[in-house]
Symmetry: C2
Subunit: 378 residues, 2 copies
């Protein structure tokens, strides 16, 4: 018997208030995905993502010419290659998975082996021969912070970025907005179907096999509720589905933020309904990041990468959708007071738990509805 | 940097010839699935499985009345409960996951808490207060040995079964037969589609982003071949799809088999085509187990649980399908000489690798075709 959970977080020990992570388990759970070219291809086929990073480098070449660059989590090596093509003197491309071998091949095939050093290893363990002028990284997970990869970028920054260095991207923001969606009805119907199946199963097991499973109905229902109703959904929403003003719930300066600053995200924000008559079905979360260079060396052209609901510029991140059941009827001018709190899952520090409370008020101030729900970003 | 792989098998160390398993990683990769009631329900809804175990106990009550029973990997506790209902004096129900809590609730709800002790822990670590008369366990994975759970049952047997004790099930066999199937064409078309996409991606990345990804075409193709063409498929075949005689490739006496005996399964067997004119599209593997009691105490009624292709008695195990590309035209009377070898994956001891060689001969002895393929049971 041991005290650790199944997802690599060893309980009952402390590490400056944060749980110690079992690196082997973390590798099995998390990094292994990135060792597949198929997965790399999905990210490399995200045009919004690619254009933003490409433009941030090539429209801002002076930040790269003759500079030393570190790419944290290089994957296939694309950002490191671009940095080299833009004129970097040296690029350190660090990758924790076997994808490093492919990155090295790609660097060689593009004749950049004299500039780009691909290093296989965790950024936390790697020793570089020098400090760097720029850290570039595509570290963003669903709703920005899922995967907790930014911890590694912060670690790299604190160890390897020169005092005058720049972060690419330099800033990040999290957004939240009320939405309408038909997904909630589907999910509720899936949940109800699953519980009907269960009831049939309980009856059948009692009649045919003499065992009464009824006592497990409550835990089964909780398991299914979590799965169907409390797990946030990946979705690329149409802008029309956003029914109220969007609120910023977190702003991050990548040059100064600490891991402590992103362990928990809390915000009390308000939103005004902007659709005539509609249903408040839940909330959507997304993020944007900006490439602004640093104060000493501002970018020549500022680049934005946004994952907001969009008709044409969808990303592989999509948005995270938190559904509420049942929907509430709202109309233009109604106000929402939203309390949002996101923290890391105790069982797996790369997954998130969200507490979302909301008061729905008419413009007269009359309270229409109030609720508080727990969600899981899995 | 460390020497271990991502699936819990630590390389470069020895443990009687077998790799040492990182228990935390194994838990994250393997056991966690069994902690979901949804998954338990799927197994408990498999009528063929349920009937076989139910009948093995209740048509053979004398083996259970006043006996001490150990259930290895009790899950929801169903086998332990049946053993108690059949008259066991004491049942130890061991379960590695948190499902143990639900098993305990179920035992209490069925008023068997004085007979059934649910113990949460790995069977390898558990200390029982006495030796047992019967070990019952549902340890079978896809194609019998996937999951390698039988290792734990062998460990339990060697430690806790009385010399005169019985294993439930007592025997197991693995079968292999040639099949026809339309799946191969689908999979080949999926693979080709994926490679077409890749080529488009390579062109696009070169034209828009100035990076030549061509060097990754070969590793991408290998990754996709493994995924689409070399990974065995779960399928419930129709008996008509079996086109030749089925061969036994492994027989196991659960009372005497050792872990060494099941690390590798090799067989040279033959099969005769029994369909008039057809296509040899691949091979199918399945298993059966028997409940025969022990030599000293043979079962009153022998029970069989088979996962062979069946029109009405399908199981959640289905069959494993190994596809060959392209199919070979064969006819009644043609003979297949098959060389089969299955071993555990180096990266994850619960997954399997298969080498399958075959010679197709006319009844005249003329060689029509010969091939050798590698497969992965993931």
């Amino acid at each position: 018997m041991n005290t650790s959970t199944s997802n690599g977080v060893v309980a009952n020990r402390s590490n400056g208030g944060r749980p110690i992570v079992d690196k082997e388990v973390d590798f099995a759970n998390y990094f292994c995905t990135y060792a597949f070219l198929y997965h790399q291809k999905e990210m490399l086929s995200d045009r919004v993502r690619m254009d933003a990073y490409y433009n941030s480098i090539f429209r801002n070449k002076s930040h790269f010419i003759d500079k030393v660059v570190l790419d944290v989590g290089t994957g296939s090596g694309i950002l490191a290659i671009w940095a080299a093509q833009a004129g970097a003197k040296k690029v350190y491309a660090v990758e924790a998975t076997k994808m490093a071998d492919h990155a090295r091949e790609l660097v060689r095939a593009n004749k950049l082996q004299d500039v780009v050093d691909v290093i296989e290893g965790s950024i936390e363990d790697v020793i570089l021969p020098e400090k760097v002028d720029v850290i570039i990284s595509e570290w963003m997970g669903y709703f920005l912070l899922r995967e907790s990869m930014f911890d590694s970028v912060i670690c790299a920054r604190d160890r390897w970025l020169k005092p005058t260095g720049a972060m690419y991207p330099s800033h990040a923001r999290m957004w939240l907005a009320p939405i309408r969606s038909g997904l909630g009805d589907h999910k509720m119907s899936d949940y109800e179907g699953s519980m009907d199946d269960w009831q049939y199963f309980v009856d059948n097991t009692k009649n045919h096999y003499g065992v009464d499973m009824g006592v497990l109905t409550k835990p089964f229902s909780e398991e299914q509720k979590k799965y169907y109703l409390q797990t946030s959904l990946w979705n690329n929403l149409h802008p029309n589905q956003v029914i109220g003003t969007a609120a910023i719930i977190k702003e991050i300066d990548c040059l100064t933020v600490t891991v402590e600053d992103i362990l928990v995200v809390t915000a009390s924000v308000s939103s005004s309904i902007i659709k005539e008559e509609t249903r408040l079905c839940g909330f959507s979360g997304w993020f944007d990041v900006h490439f602004r260079g640093s104060k000493e060396n501002p970018a020549e052209q500022e680049i934005e990468l946004t994952t907001e609901p969009s008709e044409n510029n969808t990303t592989h991140w999509g948005q995270q959708v938190f559904l509420i059941h049942p929907p509430t009827h709202v109309r233009s001018g109604d106000d929402l007071n939203i309390n949002f709190a996101m923290s890391r899952s105790k069982e797996n520090h790369r997954l998130m738990e969200v507490d979302l409370g909301c008061e729905v008020k008419q413009s007269s101030g009359k309270l229409l509805q109030s609720f508080k729900h727990k969600f899981f970003i899995e």
